[in-house]
């Protein structure tokens, strides 16, 4: 009997404990994991807001238009236009760019699209996060200006590659999931006005060393390029002048040192993955023995260099196996890590600004000053003055100069041919797979499926 009552006591105790388990409703409340911060908390503090901003630069460096792999337009548009020949395997997606056989199902194009819009999202998140942030006015303005710059830069490349694309200025996914395609000229309008606003917000001097963060001149450099592409010649001329007039930028650097990380002609470059790393471009392009394992410069491009052009000796590498010769871009020479980084990928440099101003002036009819700018770039390369006699010849000379100065740099060649309506005449001769509609990439299939407002697809796909 004694055993019974004791057991009963235990039962009651047990059952009450059971009730306790059930009432522990707090048991399923979990704390935020240690590795994550809430959105608003990030923008309370300058250091974390800065981290949110620089992450975008890191992403741009590794994935998307400015990277050194196939998602970057240096490689993809280099193959797509007439800069690079392809020697790699048929199974590599790069071959579709070389053969101008891009399909809407292309996985690389989808990756470029998704990565870019993810970077735009992050920029919009910074803008929205800074709205109510308690950090200092000066810091806030700088970060906002940089975020506007990033957003404009990315939309610029999207519009030039895919045509009419959605203009995304908010993080609200409800609006963004049904976004429609905005016409290219409206995109230009918007990014120009955003960049003008950014000019007011960003400081003139660099906030850190090594020119890896945008300052006012970087924004002007982009604005000048956009004005040029948008055929606003006098604005382009004015804007590039503000960059050229800055004393910290100069062409007073030996040609072979133009692409080193401390070159004075650099306006904006990207910091590498880790200290000691150099550029991905060097890894992609440099090879030691022929035939080339992946890509090589087209012979036609090499033949475009005039006699005496130092760029041919310094910026183009040669591989000779006795019977054949191949060439590769050697603007960036370091394809392995070094004890401290020697080369950073350069996005904007002074030489391009001179060429922008030259072309703008030529188009406006200011032939003498246009030729002057052209000759500055030519003499830096060891060439004599240009022989162009009239506007037509001068413009042709400038386009040719851009080809040999800016080759394999972020798709400049393709975009130049496109904005001057020279794609069909130049490429249909040399590229067997070239069609009219190839001036635009297809909007990725997955995107059209996910958002019917993106219809219709670009012509020809």
């Amino acid at each position: 009997m004694k055993t019974y009552t004791l057991s009963k006591f235990r039962i009651i105790l047990f059952i009450s404990c059971l009730t306790l388990i059930i009432s522990c409703d707090g048991f399923v409340d979990v704390d935020l994991p240690s590795a994550q911060l809430t959105g608003p908390a990030v923008f309370q503090d300058k250091a974390t807001a800065n981290a949110a901003l620089v992450d975008i630069y890191a992403k741009m460096r590794d994935n998307g238009f400015f990277s050194g792999n196939l998602s970057g337009v240096t490689l993809s548009l280099g193959l797509y236009a007439d800069e690079l020949d392809y020697y790699g395997p048929a199974s590599d997606p790069a071959i579709n760019y070389f053969q101008n056989g891009l399909l809407a199902s292309d996985s690389n194009a989808l990756q470029v699209w998704n990565n870019t819009y993810n970077q735009i999202y992050a920029a919009n998140a910074v803008l929205e996060g800074l709205y109510d942030s308690p950090i200092s006015e000066a810091d806030k303005n700088q970060f906002q200006g940089e975020a506007l710059f990033i957003r404009s830069l990315l939309h610029f490349y999207l519009a030039n590659t895919f045509g009419d694309v959605p203009l995304i200025t908010t993080t609200n996914y409800q609006t963004n999931r049904t976004a429609t395609r905005t016409a290219v000229n409206e995109i230009y309008e918007r990014i120009i006005s955003d960049l003008k606003q950014a000019l007011q917000l960003v400081q003139q001097q660099y906030t850190t060393n090594d020119r890896v963060r945008p300052n006012r001149s970087v924004i002007s450099a982009l604005l000048a390029k956009i004005y040029l592409f948008n055929r606003q010649w006098s604005e382009a001329s004015k804007e590039s002048s503000t960059v050229i007039s800055q004393s910290q930028y100069s062409l007073n650097v030996p040609l072979r040192d133009v692409f080193l990380m401390n070159s004075p002609s650099t306006i904006w470059q990207l910091y590498p993955k880790a200290p000691g790393n150099n550029t991905d471009f060097a890894i992609t392009f440099i090879f030691q023995t022929g035939p080339p394992p992946f890509v090589a410069l087209k012979k036609a491009l090499v033949d475009n260099f005039e006699n005496g052009d130092n760029r041919l000796t310094l910026w183009v590498g040669t591989v000779n196996n006795g019977t054949s010769k191949w060439f590769y871009p050697s603007k960036y020479d370091y394809n392995t890590a070094t004890s401290s980084s020697r080369e950073f990928p350069i996005i904007f440099r002074l030489q391009e600004q001179f060429l922008i101003r030259a072309e703008a002036r030529a188009r406006l009819g200011e032939l003498d000053s246009g030729k002057e700018d052209l000759n500055i770039v030519r003499s830096a390369a060891g060439l004599t003055a240009s022989q162009a006699a009239n506007q037509q010849q001068l413009i042709e000379a400038i386009i040719k100069e851009r080809r040999v100065e800016l080759f394999t740099e972020f798709g400049n060649r393709f975009y130049d041919l496109k904005r001057n309506e020279m794609l069909d005449p130049i490429l249909s001769g040399t590229k067997a797979g070239w069609n009219n509609h190839d001036s635009l990439w297809p909007i990725p299939d997955n995107e059209l499926r996910a958002n019917i407002n993106l219809q219709p697809q670009n012509l020809g796909y």
Binding site: R10, L18, I21, S34, A35, A179, I283, T289, G433
Partner: protein, 1006 residues
């Protein structure tokens, strides 16, 4: 009512530990009970041998009627020895045989022969999770296989043992590389998200998470990431039960929506200490290869392709025909790269025994398997398993303990060479130069073996332990406490040395990289239960209430090391000049529930089963964490009704049905928080922060409503047993990572979608005992079909799914172009422009194809003759598949041999394949890819496969020796009959299909 409100972990755990302590006190009252004295009658020893007519039967229970305490068990020779008086009657019973009553009548030696009794299969106790129920009385749908079926298969993953054997359960292997995962679907796909259809796995009462512990950057060769199920050892398993319908799964509440897989490991048995040693060696090879072109056909195709494209000067990179490579070389790349033979070795030893009150089992196992790809690779798995059961003298206290520990040490290829093997030109250069070095043929190709210089090494250790304590407080009331613990540690490394690159690129070890993944998952679960069973005359009540608290912590660390001074230091992360942490996080998952079951059984004829559960999960935001689930199941065993009780034909008949609601929370943790996390990107000394996801705090449970009706019937003493079931499951409030367009910045958002998915189907199983005399032959046949349907989706046409799903169609449909044949003039594929807008676009994809199987099943036959046992299982599936389409014919990739003779040309224009192109004809290229997205690419992929065949032979050793020896020969995936080009079981194209395996071995018991 919450009169206590504990907020965080500690307190809840303490109260549960306290509960555990309570259970230690009652056992102190489990004393030996006082024996009552009985009048003495003269006893003497009775002995004899028990046989089944041919061979002795060990383990048979012999007892004196009326005095169960005297029960003995026959030993390995079938001999027994019992103390009884002349007037006693002996009861002899053994599962699978008819129980016999024998009067002693003054004999002292009684030999007994037992007869097979198929009806006792209905007496088997089926594990239903929190309770077990007699097979004949269960109201739910539970499929079961036992160690007999599991041991006859030479496979390493537990899911492979279930293929083709259970109605309604579809299991497909991801790839043939050892360690690859399986995809399991129990009665179809319920959730719109493909990876949220996992069933709940429970091992000996402990939930075992099947979420991946791999990392995409390390486990690159397998089609999915490393699955924890690889840590379970099939040879330790006693039975696997799969719970399918609401009645069986509702007691698991929120996690039972996709079914529950219960794994019970082997236990010790009463008897003399027995040693068993098992040893098996086997070989594996790819099941089938494609029939590809040879060099001559290939070169002819390439020449024709360039001619068609109008190119006479072969381009510099067309090495195969421009003279760079010899056109006389010929290599069968499938044989070269995938044609190896894998070697398998399996060893197991166990010792078990025990008395009537305490039994134990200790076993150790080891398995090693190499691959069919060239190279020195090995998959090694080994471990130990220990169980102990104890019942106190007065039968009131019970202790069950089981623990398994498995370690794996794998060195596997880091890439799958299947695509290379199928597409390399037959005249591609040789893999090695004369001096044994990799041949890069002057930079004209990427040597496929170079990538195998990457090493993928993974080490993991997994332990699963469970303690079950129970105490019978009152004769009808039992208090149980179950405590389980699992600990899984997985460390993977993928080293990418600079030697994978062409040496002419002069890439040094500075470009070598090491990716590491250290993932650990620990989980504990506490489940106190109270069980009440009582007979009131013909009424029998079985009631159960219990609670669950589970906590799982997963820690992950993914790192990258780069820039090594030498490749020999490549495996040491500390030697990397640069180190990057990709992910470092700790994920906590908490789960809490309160459940109950009420079972009412009247005279074994009318049965009603009610279950309910209230669950809370930490995966949902505040206010959305709790929900209630429940089910009702009923059964009517009409063969026990008076008018059918002694029917000579119908020996068993049961009608059962169930209806209930279960749920699913497979959404990942912390998804409702709006956060930034470290991206691991370094920019000028700052580590970047990135937005983690799009934010939605409002999502909650997915619910699944199930209904089932079934008829189970046995004829001629259960010699023919037929089960037919119909079910319908509706899954609503779908938890989806709604796919979003990239313009939103992310590709998915977690949200509940007001869509309903219905799975309905029928299952039949037939079991017949054909012969029982000299040769015993039994057949088991199962066939099931499942139709998945999207029943409703408000706003489908304007959602992101507008072009993916259609109402009243399955979820896995593909919308394709309508292929209208090959244009005889141009040799280009043509398609229907359905909306007549002049171009072929998404709107012309109106043809709906579904690749889920129409029906599938298996038929198993077992023959027993003297000492031989032959088992074989044929698995059959009727389904459509997609043709093998590697790219337009004429490009630098090998094609199916039939393409060479059936391709269009100006001469011959009545053919199946379009004209060759080397890639320069965009009309042909575009048409090819459109063909791949059209119904022209759909072909029959049905197959019949001899999934498993096993032959066992018991050596006829003399009865006096205490040793038993059995010889074993087994085969898996031995024969395949199909019209499909390639292996029809493949899930992901481009990965090695499952292997066929032959093995022989022996089992020694002494």
């Amino acid at each position: 009512m919450n009169y206590f409100s504990f907020y965080k972990d500690g307190k809840a755990v303490y109260c549960l530990i306290f509960t555990g302590f309570l259970l230690f006190f009652p056992p102190s009252f489990a004393k030996t009970s006082v024996r009552n004295s009985k009048p003495l009658i003269q006893q003497h020893q009775i002995q004899g041998t028990v046989t089944d007519g041919n061979s002795p039967l060990p383990g048979v229970a012999i007892a004196v009627k009326g005095n169960s305490k005297t029960a003995v068990i026959s030993d390995y020779n079938g001999e027994y020895n019992i103390s009884a008086s002349s007037q006693d009657t002996l009861i002899v019973s053994y599962l699978g045989f008819k129980t016999v009553l024998i009067s002693i009548k003054n004999r002292s030696k009684i030999d007994i022969t037992l007869e097979y009794d198929t009806t006792t299969l209905q007496e088997v106790k089926v594990n239903a999770g929190y309770y077990s129920v007699k097979e004949s009385e269960r109201t739910g749908s539970i499929a079961r296989i036992t160690s007999k079926e599991i041991e006859s298969q030479p496979v390493t993953n537990v899911l492979a043992t279930m293929q083709g054997r259970m109605a309604g359960v579809s299991i497909v292997q991801d790839s043939g590389t050892p360690g690859s995962g399986f995809t399991i679907r129990i009665r179809g796909q319920n959730s719109l998200r493909g990876n949220a259809n996992e069933p709940l796995y429970i091992i000996d009462g402990v939930p075992f998470s099947s979420e991946s512990v791999g990392y995409s950057n390390t486990s690159t060769a397998t089609a999915g990431e490393t699955s924890p199920l690889n840590s379970i050892v099939p040879s330790d398993i006693e039975s696997i039960e799969v719970l399918k319908d609401a009645d069986a799964t509702s007691i698991y509440g929120s996690r039972g929506a996709n079914g529950v897989v219960l794994i019970t490991t082997k236990r010790g048995k009463q008897g003399k200490t027995t040693f068993t040693i098992n040893s098996n060696t086997g070989v594996g090879k790819a099941t089938r290869f494609l029939d590809l072109m040879d060099t001559q056909q290939y070169i002819a195709m390439r020449r024709q392709a360039f001619t068609n494209d109008g190119i006479t000067n072969y381009p510099a990179n067309a090495y195969d025909i421009n003279g760079t490579w010899s056109q006389n070389r010929s290599t069968d790349w499938q044989k070269e790269l995938l044609g190896g033979t894998s070697e398998i070795l399996f060893l197991q030893g166990s010792v078990s025994g025990g008395s009537e009150k305490t039994q134990y089992l200790l076993s150790g196992n080891y398995r090693s398997e190499t691959t069919v790809m060239p190279g020195d690779f090995k998959y090694i798995k080994g471990g130990a398993h220990f169980t102990m059961n104890h019942i106190s003298q007065d039968d009131k206290f019970r202790l069950n303990f089981s623990s398994s520990y498995t370690i794996q040490n794998n060195n596997l290829p880091s890439i799958d060479l299947t695509i290379q093997a199928r597409t390399l030109a037959p005249n591609a250069p040789s893999l090695y130069k004369e001096n044994g070095v990799l041949n890069w043929e002057n930079n004209s190709w990427t040597n496929p073996l170079a990538a195998l210089n990457q090493t993928f090494v993974s080490k993991s250790a997994n332990s699963v332990s469970n303690v079950l304590l129970s105490y019978r407080i009152l004769p009808d009331l039992e208090l149980k406490g179950s405590f389980g613990f699992t600990n899984l540690k997985n460390d993977e490394k993928r080293a990418v040395p600079s030697t994978i690159y062409n040496p002419s690129l002069a890439i040094t070890s500075a470009a070598s990289r090491l990716y590491t993944n250290n993932t650990a998952r620990q989980s504990y679960i506490v489940e106190p239960q109270l069980n009440y069973k009582k007979n009131f005359g013909l009424h029998f009540i079985d009631a159960l209430i219990g609670g669950t608290a589970q906590s799982t912590t997963t820690t992950r660390l993914y790192q990258l090391g780069a820039n090594f001074s030498s490749n020999s230091l490549l495996n040491d992360l500390a030697s990397a000049a640069q180190r990057l942490v990709y992910t470092s996080d700790e994920i906590l998952y908490r789960y809490q529930a309160f459940f109950g079951r009420l079972n009412y059984n009247y005279d074994g004829t009318y049965i009603l089963n009610l279950t309910a559960r209230r669950d809370g999960s930490s995966r949902f935001g505040p206010g959305k964490q709790f929900a209630t689930f429940g089910a009702v199941g009923a059964a009517w065993i009409f063969s026990r009704e008076a008018f059918l009780r002694n029917n000579s034909i119908l020996s068993f008949g049961k009608l059962r049905g169930s209806y209930g609601i279960t749920g699913s929370d497979q959404i990942g943790d912390y998804q409702f928080y709006n956060t930034y996390s470290s991206s691991g990107n370094n920019y000028q000394g700052t580590v970047g922060l990135q937005p983690t996801r799009l934010f939605n705090p409002n999502f909650g449970w997915e619910t699944n409503r199930k209904i089932e009706f079934a008829l189970e019937s046995g004829f001629f003493n259960d010699r023919v047993f037929l089960t037919a079931a119909w079910y319908q499951n509706r899954s609503g409030n779908q938890l989806v990572g709604v796919p979003l367009p990239g313009t939103t910045g992310f590709s998915t958002l977690n949200s509940n979608l007001d869509a309903t998915v219905e799975n309905s189907g029928t299952e039949f199983t037939l079991r017949t005992v054909n012969f029982t005399e000299k040769i015993k032959w039994t057949t088991t046949f199962n066939i099931s079909n499942n139709k998945t349907k999207l029943v409703s989706f408000p706003g489908l046409k304007t959602s992101v799914y507008a072009n993916t799903y259609e109402i009243n169609r399955p979820l896995t449909i593909q919308k394709l172009y309508s292929f209208t044949g090959l244009n005889p003039q141009t040799g280009i594929y043509t398609f229907k422009d359905i909306n007549n807008d002049g171009t072929l676009s998404i709107d012309d994809r109106k043809f709906i194809a579904d690749l889920t199987p129409k029906y599938s099943g298996g038929i198993q036959n077992t023959f027993i003759y003297k000492g031989f046992v032959l088992d074989f299982l044929f698995q059959f599936v009727k389904q459509d598949g997609i043709k093998y389409l590697p790219g337009p014919a004429g490009g630098m990739a090998n094609q199916l041999a039939e393409v060479s003779s059936q391709s269009w040309s100006t001469a011959e224009n009545n053919t199946n394949y379009q004209a060759f192109t080397a890639g320069y004809n965009s009309a042909l290229s575009t048409a090819y890819y459109q063909y791949a997205s059209s119904n022209g690419a759909i072909t029959d992929a049905s197959y019949i496969r001899l999934k498993n065949i096993a032959l066992n032979f018991d050596l006829p050793l003399p009865q006096s020796s205490k040793v038993k020896c059995r010889l074993i020969a087994q085969g898996q995936n031995v024969l395949t009959f199909t019209n499909f080009n390639g292996d029809p079981e493949f899930r992901f194209s481009g990965y090695l299909p499952p292997l066929k395996i032959y093995s022989v071995g022996a089992q020694l018991t002494f």
